[in-house]
Structure formats: structure tokens, C-alpha cells
């Protein structure tokens, strides 16, 4: 009875910590994005609210909350609100299977810093990722607007093609690790003294492309396409409802997919890796905190890389995007899969 109670308390604490971290960081990533974009364009970005604009996300949130909540005439109110929930919940749920660090012990209780270490964790991640299509399709349909509908249909087309690609891309690391549990995959990488990016560079590149497509980032931001479609499927949303879509799509989903990329290819919380030889930890002085710092550092760098790409590249056409997915990316992942299957026994020994 006592152990059940302890487990319950720990789980609630974990949920609160993860939700707080994810939504808080998600909100603050808007500031990071604006700063990165501004400096790439040689502007300083927000500078007025707080020191170097540090309170800007709060001001933005306050402004969005006080806006009028408009609803388009002849729209479908139920689906309109359902789309919002369908966008937010699966994107946040992905963090239930992201391992933030190794198992540690406090007050005599062993705690895994992962909400649920299910043995099909990766399957859950991509199941939740696919649900984002429903949110966007519903948002476009319920808004009763041609811009929103075109944007959501484009996004649906992209996500359907890239779901296939991303699933085959992560097949390589899964074969090497021999498990679907995210925690186990990182453990296997530490045991085998190998980040899977060294053996799976093609899968990593393809995965990054698919991440850009799923997040709706440039060069695949065809569903937003400010110049053509205003802002795509969010046109008819107002106030905080409008604020939630980019928050979910660009920041929460971006963070979760970067975290999964770190888990699959960059060895999760392990320090810098020399293939097959071992790990070098320049942050050894942090002691037991070092793995958590490494994980946060890798996710941050990967996310900043995505931002960097966004503010550098131009936009592709919809037919170019889908033909790249089906004609280039998918065959590449097949080749990668065969190669991985051939070399996998060498890793398992």
C-alpha cells in the first residue's frame, strides 16, 4: 500500500515537472526564435520588455488572452474547438516517453526520470505525431475559410508522406538497439559505446528533414506560407486559440522531436562519444547532474539548428516536397535499412 502511494506521488510530481518544463520552455522558445531570427537578419529583436526582452513572452501571452474570441460564420464550433485539443494533447503526451536522464535514487526510492517507460515507447511517439494531422485537417475544415482549408490540406499531404519516411528512418536505430523503449535505446547506446548517428548518418539526415516537415518549418512551411495563405489553417482563430497553434506546432512538437532525435541518434544523456572506445565527459565536475545537462544541451543545440535552417532557407513547392519524400527519402531509408540489417550482428556481439 505504502509503495503504491509513493509511486502515485512520484508520478504526479513527474507529470507536474514535465508539464511545467515543456509548456514554460515552449512559451520562452518564442523569445529564442525571435532573437535568433532577428540576429540572423542583423536586428536586435525584442529589447524593451525586461532586460533584452526577457519578459516579452509574458507580455505576448497577456495580449493574446485579452483579445476577443472570434468565431467564423457558418463554421463548426465543436470541431473548431476539438482541433485545438487534438493539437495540444498528443504533442504534449509525447514527453511521457522521453527519458531525461539515468535512473537515480533519492530518499531511498529509485526514480527513473521518464514518465512511463513503456516497452513500445517509440511507437507511441509516432502514433501521437500522426494525430497532429487530424488537428490541422479539422482546424482547416471547421474554420469555413478557403485559406485555412488549403493550408490544412497541404499540411495533411506533407505529414502523410513524411510519416512513412520518418518511420522507416528510425527503423535503423531500432534494429541496432533491438528494443522500442526509449530508455532502453539510450542504455544500449551507452553499453555499445556508440552513438547511432555514426552508423546511421543517412537515417539522421532523413529524420531531420522529416522533423522539419512535421513541424511545418522552412523549407517545408508550405501550410503556413505567409505570402500566399496568410497563416494557413490558423487564419480564423483568434486570441489565445491562435497563440496555441504555433506554440504546439513549432515549439512543443519541435522540442519533442528534437528530444527523440537525441535519444535515437545522439545517445540521450551520454557525453561525447568516440565510436566503440568510450565517452569523454568535459562536464564531469557537475557530478550526478551531468547527464541531465548533456541531454538539455543536445536538445537545445538541435533545436537551435532547426531555427538556423528556418531563417536561412527558402520554401519548396508542395510537389517538390512530396516528390522528395517519396522518390528520394523513402528509397534512401530502404537502402539504409538493408545496410543496417547487414551490419547489426557486428554491433550486437
Amino acid at each position: 500500500m505504502d509503495s503504491v502511494l509513493a509511486w502515485l506521488i512520484i508520478t504526479v510530481i513527474k507529470i507536474l515537472v514535465i508539464l511545467g518544463i515543456v509548456l514554460g520552455i515552449g512559451a520562452y522558445l518564442t523569445l529564442v526564435e525571435r532573437k535568433v531570427a532577428a540576429h540572423i537578419q542583423r536586428r536586435p529583436g525584442p529589447m524593451v520588455v525586461g532586460w533584452h526582452g526577457l519578459l516579452q513572452p509574458l507580455a505576448d501571452g497577456l495580449k493574446l488572452l485579452t483579445k476577443e474570441d472570434l468565431f467564423p460564420r457558418y463554421g463548426n464550433r465543436f470541431l473548431y474547438n476539438l482541433a485545438l485539443v487534438l493539437a495540444l494533447v498528443p504533442a504534449t503526451l509525447v514527453f511521457a516517453v522521453v527519458p531525461f536522464g539515468p535512473e537515480f535514487e533519492t530518499f531511498g526510492i529509485k526514480v527513473k526520470p521518464i514518465l512511463t517507460d513503456v516497452n513500445v515507447g517509440l511507437l507511441l511517439v509516432f502514433a501521437f505525431g500522426s494525430m497532429a494531422v487530424f488537428a490541422i485537417a479539422l482546424a482547416g475544415w471547421a474554420s469555413n475559410s478557403k485559406y485555412a482549408l488549403i493550408g490544412s490540406m497541404r499540411k495533411a499531404g506533407i505529414v502523410v508522406s513524411y510519416e512513412v519516411v520518418i518511420t522507416f528512418a528510425v527503423m535503423g536505430p531500432i534494429i541496432l538497439a533491438g528494443t522500442l523503449s526509449t530508455y532502453e535505446i539510450v542504455q544500449k547506446q551507452i553499453e555499445q559505446k556508440l552513438w547511432y548517428i555514426w552508423l546511421q548518418p543517412i537515417a539522421f539526415v532523413v529524420y531531420m528533414f522529416a522533423v522539419l516537415a512535421e513541424m511545418g518549418r522552412v523549407p517545408f512551411d508550405i501550410q503556413e506560407a505567409e505570402a500566399e495563405l496568410v497563416t494557413g489553417f490558423t487564419v480564423e482563430y483568434g486570441g489565445m486559440k491562435f497563440g496555441l497553434f504555433p506554440l504546439v506546432e513549432w515549439y512543443v512538437e519541435g522540442l519533442s522531436l528534437s528530444a527523440i532525435a537525441v535519444v535515437l541518434f545522439l545517445g540521450g544523456w551520454s557525453p561525447i562519444n568516440i565510436p566503440f572506445l568510450g565517452f569523454i565527459d568535459p562536464l564531469f565536475f557537475l557530478g550526478p547532474l551531468s547527464p541531465f545537462v548533456w541531454f538539455a544541451l543536445k536538445v537545445t543545440l538541435l533545436f537551435l539548428f532547426i531555427l538556423w535552417l528556418h531563417w536561412t532557407l527558402p520554401r519548396y513547392r508542395i510537389d517538390q516536397i512530396t516528390s522528395t519524400a517519396w522518390k528520394v527519402m523513402l528509397p534512401l531509408t530502404f537502402v539504409n535499412l538493408v545496410l543496417t540489417a547487414v551490419i547489426a550482428p557486428l554491433i550486437w556481439r
Binding site: 540576429h39 540572423i40 542583423r42 538556423w308 536561412t312 532557407l313
Partner: protein, 207 residues
């Protein structure tokens, strides 16, 4: 000599290694760590060039009028010249030059001593296109355009410039910028310095 018309298509090696992506990324990262080049507007303000077409003003009589044009116009219309007041001779040439003439409301008055002077000079900025034809038309260098460009107001009435306001703008301008040279002449060393600072390669600018 070979003239380059198009970029060559990417080779296979360049496509596989994303060399075009990397080239673009290296440019943006170099710019990201350079100094920002913006003006923080409400806190810092740029001074517009002298020929900027902003709000209008009336230059006042201060002994620098264009001669002999000013004396001729004064004699013709029997204008009363007061130092420190508008140079306007009520010739209406500005109104005739204007593409929207109804924005001008100009009236003169006759003083007891038989001389005349301008009494009403209203310009409705709501209708103005800031084309500057009226400034070109002014024969006595009275009407001019200043560097005032923050022209928002709370009521439509505030957008009408009356004689008193025009004179005030003119006095302010003559105190601040009248003696400043125009930076448009090709032999102006200051102008060349401006171009040089902007790092523009114009054919007539010698480094």
C-alpha cells in the same frame, strides 16, 4: 570573356553533401554574430537629410531672402515686411501648383496704413501628397518642407497647419538647419564620406 547568365546546376557531390545548404547556413551564421545595424526608433532617431519632404513651414524674414525677387514681389503687392514674421507675399502660386488646391486656404488683409500682409494660411495635411510642387513654385523661398516626419495626430483638426504653426516650424528650421549644405553635389567631401561609410561601390566614388 565569358558572361555568366545562370548558376550552373549542382553536381551530384554537391547534392549529396548539401553544399548549397551549407553555403547558405555559413552566410547566416556569420551575420548572426555581427553587430546589429538597426536604430532603436522611439529611443534613437535618425536626422533626415536636408531635402527631406516632411511637414511644411514658413521661413521668416531674417535678411536672407532671395534678392531681388523678394523686393520685387513686396513692391508689387505692397506687402508689409516685419522681421520675424512670415515672408509670404500672398501670390497664390503655391495653390496654383498644388494637385489638390483645396488643401490651401490663403487670405491677405489690408492694414490701416495701406500695406498688406498674409492673415490666413491653412494647409490641410489630410489631403497633402507631399509632392513639393508648392515649394518649387514659391518665388520668395517662404514655403518649404522641414524634416518633421512624425505627423500622427489625435484629431483631424490637428492635421491642419495654420500660419502661426508654419511660422514656428520655420523659425525652428532656420535656427537648426538653414546653414547646413545640401548633400547632393558630387564634389561634396561629406557626401562621399557618407557613401563610403555605407560601403557602396558607386562608379563616381573614388576610394
Amino acid at each position: 570573356m565569358v558572361k555568366k547568365v545562370f548558376e550552373k546546376p549542382l553536381s551530384w557531390l554537391e547534392r549529396i553533401l548539401f553544399l548549397d545548404f551549407i553555403r547558405g547556413l555559413s552566410i547566416t551564421i556569420r551575420h548572426a554574430f555581427r553587430r546589429t545595424i538597426t536604430t532603436h526608433y522611439p529611443y534613437e532617431k535618425l536626422t533626415p537629410p536636408k531635402r527631406f519632404r516632411g511637414f511644411f513651414g514658413h521661413k521668416v524674414v531674417n535678411g536672407k531672402e532671395p534678392q531681388p525677387a523678394f523686393d520685387e514681389w513686396v513692391e508689387r503687392f505692397k506687402i508689409k515686411v516685419e522681421p520675424g514674421r512670415s515672408r509670404c507675399v500672398v501670390c497664390m502660386l503655391c495653390k496654383r501648383a498644388c494637385p489638390v488646391p483645396q488643401l490651401f486656404e490663403i487670405e491677405g488683409e489690408k492694414l490701416p496704413d495701406g500695406r498688406r500682409r498674409v492673415s490666413v494660411f491653412n494647409m490641410n495635411m489630410m489631403l497633402c501628397t507631399f509632392c513639393g510642387f508648392c515649394v518649387d513654385a514659391c518665388p520668395v523661398d517662404c514655403l518649404f518642407q522641414s524634416d518633421i516626419h512624425e505627423t500622427a495626430s489625435y484629431t483631424r483638426k490637428d492635421a491642419v497647419l495654420n500660419l502661426e504653426l508654419l511660422e514656428r516650424i520655420g523659425r525652428d528650421w532656420q535656427a537648426r538647419r538653414e546653414d547646413e549644405p545640401d548633400r547632393i553635389w558630387i564634389d561634396d567631401a561629406q557626401r562621399q564620406k557618407l557613401w563610403y561609410e555605407n560601403d557602396l561601390k558607386l562608379p563616381e566614388v573614388r576610394r
